[in-house]
Symmetry: C2
Subunit: 410 residues, 2 copies
Amino acid sequence: MDEKIAVVGLGNAGLPLAAVIADSGIEVTGVDINSERCDLINRGINPLKEEPGLDELIGKYGGRSFKATADIKNASSCNTFIVIVPLFIDRDYNPDFMILESAIKGIGSVLKPGDLVVLETTVPPGTTDNLARAWLEETSGMEASQFSLAYSPERIMTGYSISRFREFPKIVGGTDEESGKKAFAVYSRFVKSLNMVSSARVAEFIKVVEGCYRDANIALANELFKISDNLGIDFYEAREYANHQYCHIHLPSTGVGGHCIPVYPWFLIKEMERREKFDDARLLRTSRELNDEMIEFCAEKIMLNCLKIDKPLKDIAICISGLSYRRGVKEIHHSRNLALARLLVEKGLKVYAWDELLGKTGVENLGLRYLEPEKADLAFDTSGLKFGSSSKFAGKEKMSKTSEGPVCRC
Amino acid sequence: MDEKIAVVGLGNAGLPLAAVIADSGIEVTGVDINSERCDLINRGINPLKEEPGLDELIGKYGGRSFKATADIKNASSCNTFIVIVPLFIDRDYNPDFMILESAIKGIGSVLKPGDLVVLETTVPPGTTDNLARAWLEETSGMEASQFSLAYSPERIMTGYSISRFREFPKIVGGTDEESGKKAFAVYSRFVKSLNMVSSARVAEFIKVVEGCYRDANIALANELFKISDNLGIDFYEAREYANHQYCHIHLPSTGVGGHCIPVYPWFLIKEMERREKFDDARLLRTSRELNDEMIEFCAEKIMLNCLKIDKPLKDIAICISGLSYRRGVKEIHHSRNLALARLLVEKGLKVYAWDELLGKTGVENLGLRYLEPEKADLAFDTSGLKFGSSSKFAGKEKMSKTSEGPVCRC
């Protein structure tokens, strides 16, 4: 089969996906509104430096079997269109479909009878079936029966995207049986471990649920951390021995940042609100609030640590060390350490920040003062919530042993 | 060392422990207020039939190296006293220490200088250090420095107790360093995988935290079940593919029953209340409430299923099938199915119940009418929350694949 695949969206998720598809011998047209990024790719230069393995793939296929373009028209000879653009939430935590709508309507404008469209973006359950279908029908002028439509969530993690696309179990679900089968056949060509579920809606729900699991379990860890702190118990010691085959307490943190986990629970919370089932998402909501409010707890702990310093509080230089939402990722979206720094500024404390990836300019561009942690009177290092007071184990470096997949900033 | 160990409390947890200790070649005196149970044990008869492997051990050691008695005085030649009696919560969810106090004070009355006391009962963190120590000092007339005191939580599950005591990792923590070392040395003689933690308090916290993890994750499963039901998604299909090495969604249920998981979170919730940190245990409280309120959701689902039956609602015979809090365990403590049956009676529906272990008399003794599920118009079988309406996968028996350790009634 002379399949040609278009990947719409060449960001942190879409670019590794396009490269993995190209690496399986399929011709790929990548579409992204950022034409500078497209130029780089076509010259074989990887614009996403922090993704191991990507340099090699872009160098090998960029501008050859993987061509990037800012104009969807250049993808009109493709038979499969994969949508992998960001979906944000607005100030009221409702999904903002603007980018997704624009991408899908663009695809509709070049769609031919018999083509396949697959969404990879994490979306509220029902989005593929309802919104995506309607947008495609509107701009293609076709009925849904004339094209195929399915959903297959990306399950990547920045820094591990290539291996995640290649090896992690992937699922696919169609808006009808034929669409599901068609998507399954196409994905089988570049995904090793592929499962079909009964519908696009189920596949959408699965991805959102994974985020809810992480958010709720990080919230549980944070709550247990606060309780253990209050009881004078070293949380990390307790966690080490509490965890076994039937128990998996996560790591506590200043909260959960990034584009994914703090966003997905809202898809369900807001949907249940719209259905006037306010009570049916209260654990998800409590978890979300608890994680976002952890910065208040941390701020108080930082202030209490000032008791140990023989200086007026106003003169104590406090440094928040690490601003990106996760170590090694140059991204501050919903960063809770950034929120913590701003909260301390608001309280009138003498606050500085430091970040290995952002540097002095990056920190100052965020409106914060820059200082190396070693030069501060008090440095808050979030490689572990350690406030050095609770029990005899405090201060020991225990965090290194506990890496566990998509660990959030903590 | 000619160690003699007393096990105080020969219930579901204490009896298997005593048998396992005897099996390691140590002389055991079991103490229990139930003298009939003691007589049976001394005649080599196992009073706890549902525990596999126990018949053989009691038959072999009962009345020989494992003697049972209702009088703590008969244990006065022992050097180690292990307390493993129940701890309930009262109507306000506060721990009711009556039984524990009586057991520990009894031990104090026969305690000799140099003896070791170890609590196994799951207790609020701090209980061993504060209450147990004070009770022992009071009745022994000794200072705490004259005896050793430690904590080592049982991690059993009814039906798996023997193997749990023998093989599951166990922890021990002393109220001081010497007590910890001493308890570690004694337990090493009959426990394979033993770890020492820094204090009794940490060991107490670890056990409570495991229960909180289960309760919160079952609550999350229940909330996601309600949401998926609302969205027309088969929860069990989604769960099957959502679960992987970084995600472990539990099974939904009518709630969480028994003496353990529904009780332990209250130890932390109530302690935080006492400290006026009302907000610091809100996830635990939300989880507890959500699990207990699942019977309301189930009751509504049962009534909606009556729409399919061509009979007046008042004439529809509804059978709740399975009343014990977990399948295979003849125990109705905090059973949510029993609570569900009573809720339906209260609503005025024509409700019956059936239970394989309780039988007709057992069901009627609970104030419910007995009926075999096959004879009912509508049977609620809690081997899975299946309401047969949501999606194309409903009705398939998927629960059998998903056994995962201490699964609660569901």
